[in-house]
């Protein structure tokens, strides 16, 4: 029933937004509204699980930037709508609607903005840009999804301050409302507070601090994270590292990855990139795991990626399957 209500309200919104616009129209509340989205589909031939093909998600992005200092953003994701695997043939019963983000922003100045609602926890570069058309690989580094809450319901103050020929950015946030609905494979966190500071210039460098309670094991953690992305000639190099501490300052889990994307133009393969990634990950409850990845990604258009990759390593984590993966992702 809940899904039906969300679907109907989404369709109603779309119909409202699709009204014809005439040149002489008076300003309307729907001016400044934008709709877009992204989607991806892929195939996994895994070492630890049956082969699976799926339309992974269809996400709808809704924005509103009126003529006031208020703005709105929402992301509604239709997860795993169609999938097929060797054992179960076609199925779609795992599919579901998920409200990924929904927030209101108020701009006091470029240095001070207030955000209230559900937003991506801003403590990891990958987490903030996790949409398949924005990342080079089909799989996500374990450390960016299994050590901290990926979304937070609360309030955030953020801004940007010009510094030399770049910009210093900050985000300080706190959870105000616990997650009301948890997906089956999602880790549950409460009492989330944190901050992120980054500097954007030729390279992006960020540092983040987070404190939270992991509900399933009932323990409080503090976490520090570092991330960067830079370019050496044409090669993109990026990485992140996270370290959690419990209340006795003991190791509470950690993880890191280092990734390169090398353009293959010199081999005559325009818009193809050779991808390599090394990952480490450990949690007190699941132990340590490593991953390595090699692959190639074709940027068909700026908004479309075709990815081919092979992943190996130790430890069985369904979130990061080992084997061959391919996927196609697009922004629309």
């Amino acid at each position: 029933m809940k899904k039906l209500i969300i679907l109907c309200s989404s369709l109603a919104s779309l119909l409202t937004l699709c009204k014809p616009v005439l040149a002489d129209d008076e300003p309307h509340w729907s001016d400044g509204v934008g709709i877009g989205g992204y989607s991806s589909a892929g195939l996994i031939v895994g070492r630890d699980q049956p082969a699976k093909a799926a339309l992974n998600e269809v996400s709808l992005l809704l924005t509103w930037n009126g003529n006031s200092r208020w703005s709105f953003f929402g992301e509604l994701e239709f997860e795993d709508p169609v999938s097929w695997n060797d054992n179960q043939r076609f199925r779609s019963y795992h599919s579901g609607l998920d409200l990924e983000r929904l927030y209101l922003d108020y701009n006091f100045s470029e240095k001070v903005n207030l955000r209230v609602g559900r937003f991506l926890t801003p403590n990891s570069r990958w987490n903030l840009l996790h949409a398949p058309p924005l990342v080079w690989t089909s799989t996500r580094p374990l450390a960016t999804s299994q050590l901290f809450p990926t979304g937070t319901n609360g309030a955030m103050v953020f801004g940007a301050i010009p510094y030399r020929d770049g910009a210093f950015e900050y985000q300080v946030f706190a959870e105000l409302l616990e997650d009301q609905e948890i997906d089956g494979d999602e880790l549950e966190y409460i009492h989330v507070n944190g901050a992120r500071f980054s500097f954007k210039n030729r390279s992006d460098i960020g540092i983040s601090f987070l404190s939270f309670n992991e509900k399933a094991i009932g323990r409080d953690y503090r976490m520090i994270g570092l991330d960067f992305v830079t370019h050496v000639k044409e090669t993109e190099i990026s990485g992140e590292a996270f370290q959690r501490f419990d209340t006795q300052n003991q190791d509470g889990g950690s993880g890191a990855y280092l990734q390169t994307a090398v353009p293959l133009n010199r081999l005559g393969l325009n818009n193809w990139y050779w991808i390599t990634r090394l990952e480490s990950f450990q949690r007190p409850d699941t132990g340590a795991a490593e991953r390595w990845l090699v692959g190639a990604t074709w940027r068909i258009k700026p908004s479309q990626l075709l990815k081919l990759e092979f992943t190996g390593g130790s430890g069985n984590h369904p979130e990061s399957p080992r084997g061959f993966l391919t996927s196609f992702a697009l922004l629309f």
Partner: protein
């Protein structure tokens, strides 16, 4: 005397070249807002032009939404502006704008010609754009200048054909 004359000719030629065009055939660029805009109220500096074109600063101080406008990604003025103000070529900014799109922020509006920039800036509340300094006319006023890869508040010396 003969050598002195040759040096004078060379120096004059170089100076003239500097007056008409910046290095490597680059133009002098004027960053413009509408003619009726009160420039002092914008509090625009060489530093926050960068934030405006990265869409990190979205509002003028009095709460009017900033409407930056770009020329097409292959336009020579866009390339020169982009290298000077944003530190990279437009084609290198694709990842950044895809990421911003994912977070609900669109890149500056893009138009095909300097005349289109002049019309957009003069007719759109809160707009800011850039044109060749020689294309300046009464519809807009220059707030910043780009010459020889430098952004400044002071109008440089330039001449137009």
């Amino acid at each position: 005397m003969h050598q002195l004359f040759i040096r004078f000719i060379i120096a004059s030629t170089m100076l003239l070249a500097d007056f008409t065009q910046a290095k490597d055939g680059q133009s002098t660029i004027a960053v413009v807002v509408a003619e009726q805009q009160n420039i002092a109220s914008l509090n625009l500096s060489t530093k926050n032009l960068n934030l405006i074109y990265w869409r990190k600063q979205l509002f003028w101080p009095k709460g009017i939404r900033i409407q930056p406008v770009n020329l097409g990604s292959e336009h020579p003025l866009r390339i020169q502006f982009s290298q000077t103000v944003l530190g990279s070529l437009p084609k290198k900014q694709v990842d950044y704008w895809n990421g911003q799109y994912f977070n609900g922020v669109l890149p500056p509006h893009s138009v095909d010609s300097e005349e289109a920039v002049l019309r957009y800036v003069s007719q759109t509340k809160g707009a800011i754009g850039y044109i060749d300094a020689c294309a300046l006319d009464a519809r807009v006023q220059a707030v910043l200048w780009i010459k020889n890869g430098q952004l400044s508040r002071q109008a440089p010396i330039f001449s137009c054909p």
